[in-house]
Every structure is written in structure tokens, then in C-alpha cells.
Amino acid sequence: MAEKIATRASYGKALVELGAENPNIVVLDADLSGSTQTKKFADVYPDRFFNAGIAEANMMGMAAGLAVSGKTVFASSFAMFASGRPYEIIRNSIAYTNANVKICASHAGLTVGEDGASHQCLEDLALMRAIPGMTVLNPADDVSARALIKAAAAYKGPVYVRLGRAAVPVVYEEGTQFEIGKALRVREGKDACIIATGIMIDKAVQAADLLAAEGIEVRILDMHTIKPLDKAEVIAASKECGCIVTAEEHSVIGGLGSAVAEAVCEEAPCKVARIGVKDIFGQSGKPDELLKAYGLAAEDIAAAVKSLKCK
């Protein structure tokens, strides 16, 4: 059984390391520093941590002001309150100014669990992807989260990073390289391609194992960067594997599935099935119960691959 670590914990760890490497980094939070794990940074670098209180709009505005003054700013809250609530401030004060702000949003998706629909943000990738100049990242596990947080810190400009609450299996070897905008081939196969993002990578691997037992060999792409999308890998998947199943812990509207479908339709049409939340709100429950109930289990991905009848 693989070790399980929540990507928000990876974020907290990476922030402390970044704080030592770069004295220019400042961190903001909106009264959730224990949950988002920015408290780890605050404990070591209290002078560079600012609590905005429960005021996410102003947190993003202050982040913009700090960034245009030369700081590399990390701003965190739950995904719902880090993307939806301050959306327009992110658009106008952060993205329009190309401010060097990294919005690191934890507790994204259904796996927030018991807190229920009000806290289960299923639209953040769609919202952030629509903003010009915004880079959108969605790491799968501890190794990729730490690597992508560091890549975001090194990148100049606004970045949205989606992080989860629940502990998820570590799927990558320590030291695996991740580059913004470059999808990672997790497994090779020519019968179909599963393009997954975030914690759905682990489910995709399980699905691929189920399919392999039936003689279906699928390629898996980790699309950790939702924007800019690695179109070359999407087109290659279409041409070489014949059909694509996308998998995301997000609405099927506007996120990875939409991005892949757009690229495929324009450049290399093939059948595409989208695994994601079907335009409905979540509810309270345990993370794995919820993923099953909303059709985001490994079995659902495997069934989608078979339904496309590529092979």
C-alpha cells in the first residue's frame, strides 16, 4: 500500500523550503492557515506571513499590491474562497497586471468530504482557465505537488495551484521531473488514452490495471497543467490511441475535459468521454464514498474506456 499524503501538506512543506531559498517570498492566508498548511511557513517566517482574516477579496488585492512591489506572493484559502469568491479581483488586480501571485487553493473538489456542497469547489479550473495569462496547475500527489509548487515559485506571473484536503497515495518516485505545460506519460498503451489530472491520476492507474486484466492497454497522461494545455500530447493521444477518456475531480464543464475536447475537436477529432461531476452540486460524505457516488471511481473510468469501443 502506497504512502498517503495530502497535497496541501506537500504545499506547506514546499513553502518552508522556498522561504529559506528566497527571502522575497511572502505568504497570505484568510484564517485557514492550519488547514491550507501555510501555518508551517508562518511559524518559521512570521515576518513574511500576513493573515488577511476572513476577507478573501482583500487578500487577493493585497497580494496584487505586494507583487507589483516586487514580492513573490503565495495566497491561500480553500478553493471555493480562493477562486470563486475573489474571481474578479484575481482577474483585474492579479491577471490583468500580470502580478507574480501564486494562488494555492486547498480543499478543492468533492474530497473535501463532510463539509458538503458549499465547500466542494467544482468550478475553479473552469474559472481560472478562462482568465488570460493565468497558468493553472493541478498536482496528483506529494511528489508532483512539491515539484509544481517550486516550478510555480520560479515562474514569473500569476499561477493557480489546486490542492486537496484528503491524503492521497504517492504515485511518483521521488525526484520525478515536472515541467509546467508538459504532460507526463504515466503509462504507455495504444488502445485508448486516459488523460487525468490531480488526484484522479491514482484512479486512472487503478482503471488501467482493471483494463489490462481484460487485455486493454491504455496510455495515461498526467495533465497536471490545465493551462497552458499540452496540445501536442493531446493530439498524439488522439492519433496514436484513437480515443480519449478525461478524468477530473471537477465539473465536466470548463475544466480538463473541456480543454481536451476543444483541442481534439479543432486539431485531431476522436471520441472523447469525460469523467467528472455532471453539472450538479456535491454533498456531505466520506471522500471515497463521494467519488463513487458521483461516478469518479476507477471502475467508472474503466467503463468509460470500454464504452468508447476503440478497440
Binding site: R48, N58, A64, G65
Partner: protein, 272 residues
Amino acid sequence: METVQLQKIAQTVRQHIIRQTYNAGSGHPGGSLSAADLLTALYFCEMNIDPANPGMKGRDRFVLSKGHAAPALYACLAERGFFPVEDLVTLRKMGSKLQGHPSMILLPGVEMSTGSLGQGISAATGMALAGKLDGDPGRVYALLGDGELQEGMVWEAAMAAGHYKLDNLCAIVDHNGLQIDGRNEDVMNVMPIAEKFAVFGWNVLEIDGHDFEQILDAFDMAKKCKGMPTMIVAETVKGKGVSFMENQVGWHGKAPNEEQAKQAMEELGGEL
């Protein structure tokens, strides 16, 4: 600088506001005219800035939180030498760096892109935080509209600036009493402004926003106040300087036609 000289510059700024909005065929003359004296005092007397080096270290920064008063800001920047005065007539035209609301990416000298109300004061709060972190001697100024105070985000920023004791931040409310839909008191009452900021932990000063001595004195008092940000509530007249625009709601977001522009310029001692 002598008050008389500042008054003369402010008159030139007002002429530019009329010329710009007339040439653009749209824009916001009323709130630009009410802010003209405050901006003139900042750009020609108060702030430590260098048009030849807009990114100068240790400079003072200004954020036009009421971004629709862009014509007043552009007039000051041009007259101060940040860009040629001739460019002012490109306001709101395709390809111009003079966007309908200020863009820091396009126009050097603009410290923050604004236009969406409530966001400028929040960014200014972040700038002041950065200044404190770096021990930067520069001060941060922000100008808000009175209608803008209806945005909840203003009060989030006010709370934060008070909490972090940002005495390097000086905000000003251009209190002309009018907004798009009518008088503040009819649309959504914002009074009392001074008392609200005081209880949020600000040093509050109340002045006549068209009296240069009072404006400059207030900036001095703000500098001397330690441990809290300063809010200057400036009583102003919307449309100030143009008789038919003064205190008229209709001139919030409407450009003068040729005849109106000519009359306005005559009153302001200039030519269209």
C-alpha cells in the same frame, strides 16, 4: 510650490480633462474634475517621483482606486512629463496606452491597474505592507470615490490597513456626494465617512478638497501620524470648474459635445 502655481496647474489639468473626454466622445468628466486639485497637489508638490525613472526605488506611489477619473490622472502624468501632452487626446481610442481605466502594463507612471471599484485601496494596502517589509521610505497614496465606499472590499482593506498599522498609507476620499444613479444618500448612504474609518483604526482628517493649503497640510499631518494609516475626507464639488457640470449627476459618465466643450474651455481659460 506656491498655491497660485498649483491652482494654475490644476486649471490646465481641468482643460485636459475636457479636451480628452470631448475627443474620446465618452469618459467621466464629473469625478475627474472633482479630483483635479487633489491629484495636482500629489503630483506637483507632495509625491517623490521621477518621470525619467518611473520605477525609481523609494518613490512614493499613487493608486487611483476610483479608476474612472483616469482623465485627471493622465493629465497630471503628462504635465509632469511621464509622456507627451499631445498623447492625451488618444484617450479611449484603439491602440492607445490611455485606456478608459488606467493600465499599469501599458502606461509607465501608473502604479496599479484600476477601474473595478474597491480594488485600488486593497492593492495600495498590499503596497504599504511591502514598504514596511522592505523599510522602503516611499509612501503610498490612494484616491477613492465616495460611492466606492459602498464596495465591501473597501472595508476589508480598511480593516487590514488599520490592523497592520500602515502609517505609510494615506488614502483620500473624493467626497463629491454624487454617483451614477444619483446622490449617495439616495442610492446607498455612506455617511458618516470620517467616523467609520476612525473606528477601523485610521487617523481621519476632514478638509476642503479644493483648498491647496488644506490639502498639503493634511498630507503633512498624515506623514507625522505614526502607528495608523490616514484617511483624508476631502469635500469636493463634482464637475468643479465648469459651471454647467458642477453638482450635476448627469455629468458622471458623459462626454461634452462640441458646444459644451467650447463653453467649458472658455470657463477654464483655455481653447478646445
